[in-house]
Symmetry: C2
Subunit: 393 residues, 2 copies
């Protein structure tokens, strides 16, 4: 975890236990800006959307500025019927009283079990206990409060030479479904953004949060928010360092999510080169990254290249095994496993040793064109089955 947290000016946080998690664990975080924030957001594309996602989308699409975000863990407020929207609105109203504002200046994020009505009374009681702070510790507390099956809080913080900073928190142990494992991230900056830049930053999701795979499932609640309050009095435009710093923050947060994937023991970059087009490269990368046979082989440090070639072969994309080469990579070391339609003459022992590392890369060169795509995945372990086989009991 990053030790140094740059605290963007004008933001305060509070994290506390309101009763959604057991054992007095913190389960509610509120982020408040002392002035209105520009917002960029990304939401799940699942046709089943939790009430807070629908609520937030409406506000973000209206172009309104916001002052605060509430995030609760322990209840996703998804598939809760009409009550879901009513409860979301109530939470927003409750939080708006913290700054004498109105409900639609508040975005609401929820994560946790689905299908259970949100216990709004607990959240109201929690909001009454809020104590804001702008300290680095308050960021750590908020990152902890939003955890569910995560084993580690996730914070990334970077500072620009232009005097502003970008600090984000995230939770998620997979791009995964309605149980306690939804991906959420809130990233705050005290820069302000030009209109052009604001409309462009959403492209960063495609380079970061959309490039991670735990199990291929997609949540009802996935949400990423950027809040920019301008308190640092730096206006970032398209040519400034903001886009690249922000990308860096999102990439690092995304990587932390997959590294902490449910049951994950390894972080594997799946890198496809030489595809006819980018769509093909992505299709093949996702086929490998979601294959249970590939993922169990990663777990077992088994250089079973046949499974990788096979997963590439059944992806709906141009692929010719006779033209492809497959490598394992770790830093500057690489081992060629496969070439010209058959296995290469490699050392099994060396390949196993490389795969026993916590982080390494698969490089598949299709030799069909010049497009490429990469993403991160994790292995499929016994613990994944344990965590998800009896999740609610």
């Amino acid at each position: 975890m990053n030790k140094i947290i740059y605290t963007p000016k004008g933001f305060q946080l509070s994290a506390l236990h309101c009763g959604l998690k057991v054992n007095e664990q913190k389960d509610l975080a509120v982020i408040l800006s002392d002035r209105p924030c520009q917002v960029a957001a990304g939401f799940t594309t699942n046709k089943v959307k939790a009430a807070p996602v629908i609520y937030d989308q409406k506000i973000v699409n209206s172009g309104k500025k916001v002052r605060a975000v509430t995030i609760n863990a322990g209840n996703a407020n998804a598939c809760t019927g009409n009550a879901g929207m009513v409860h979301t609105q109530q939470v927003a109203e409750g939080a708006s009283k913290l700054f004498d504002g109105v409900a639609d200046e508040v975005l609401v994020l929820s994560t946790g079990v689905i299908g259970v009505p949100l216990p709004v009374e607990k959240i109201f009681a929690g909001l009454k206990k809020v104590e804001f702070s702008d300290s680095a510790d308050s960021w750590h507390s908020a990152a902890k409060a939003i955890m569910t099956t995560d084993t580690k809080p996730k914070i990334v913080s970077l500072q620009s030479k232009n005097g502003y900073s970008i600090t984000g928190i995230a939770k998620g142990a997979g791009m995964i479904c309605p149980t306690m494992a939804t991906m959420l991230s809130v990233i705050c900056t005290d820069a302000s953004l030009s209109d052009e830049l604001l409309s462009k930053v959403s492209e960063v999701w495609g380079e970061s949060f959309n490039r991670i795979v735990v199990d291929g499932d997609m949540s009802t609640n996935d949400t990423v928010l950027l809040l920019a309050n301008g308190a640092a009095e730096f206006k970032a435009d398209i040519d400034s360092d903001f886009y690249s710093l922000f990308t860096d923050v999102c990439v690092q947060l995304a990587k932390k999510i997959v590294a902490d994937g449910e049951g994950a023991t390894k972080l594997v970059k799946v890198n496809i080169n030489g595809a006819k087009n980018k769509e093909d490269a992505e299709t093949i990368a996702r086929s490998i990254a979601t294959s249970p046979l590939c993922k169990t082989a990663f777990y077992g440090a088994d250089p079973n290249w046949g499974r990788i070639i096979c997963a590439a072969g059944y992806a709906n994309a141009y692929f010719s095994p006779e033209q492809a080469s497959l490598f394992l990579k770790k830093d500057d070391d690489f081992i060629k496993l496969f070439e010209y339609g058959q296995g290469s003459d490699y050392s099994e022992k060396d390949a196993v040793a490389l795969m026993e590392n916590k982080e390494w890369e698969i490089l598949l060169d299709l030799n069909l064109g010049s497009s490429n795509y990469w993403l991160w995945t994790c292995d499929l372990s016994h613990d994944y089955v344990t965590i998800n086989g009896h999740y609610r009991t």
Copy 2:
């Protein structure tokens, strides 16, 4: 397992150990017909195809009749370069000597580890030891010889009142990739088929072998063959009972494969009703049937309907949670889990008890149209990870 095996006339079998498996286990089966057979076949659509698949496809597409099939377990002869085709041809030639025929009257099937050259000398030595029999026992021996990670041999046998029979063997512990888990099936009948019927029987794969999911991976070697030798002197046409009997054999064999899926403890039918069109129904069924979160919940007997609704929601198909209803079914019992966008008022205890059975059904009614699709899947257990995490060691 079916106790009664009807032995189609004119077919003889032999099964023996030639040295591809350890511990003297049988690993080579040969099926020989006393006269030429019509052939219908289905092959993997993976772009990576094992040499015997390419070889067999050529013969089947030529419309030639065949006399024999060899099946070896323990080596898939996939991704073995030019040697793969040479070895396949050599095995066919070796087997053709058993009936004084020629190589292209022999189809060759292989299953097992990929990337390792086929030890043809072992297979030649095995072919010299062949002793044919038309007994029911010889069918059981052949079904055992072709097993890899299967825990049970798979035979289905049905007899028609028209005096012919259909008997099939299959192996496979998943629609799964190049390791010891490819799906193979050979079905023999002593009926002969009209040209119209022969061209139509391939449609049966779509109703049987293509409706099973273990892990969503697709093998380099998957092959299904129907051999019809006409020895029973019944010519089946499109209006006869053949199509329905044959469908029954294939469906039963397919069901045996998924019930014996790697690590599987449960057989779950995923049944989608009320879709806008059949493609949508199939897309949603496959999304649920391959979701690791759904499959681990099946394993844990956790009626976590949110995961099922969620997997339906991210499938690329028309789906509206507000209109859908979701049921668990076992024989005539059913439990409604979800309706009108939210959970129903069901007994958690009853739902868990139903899911603890070895075989049950998920029925998702989309209420959007009149199309439907079903398939079978199994659960994702600790044993799946154990079997596949260290497969080759």
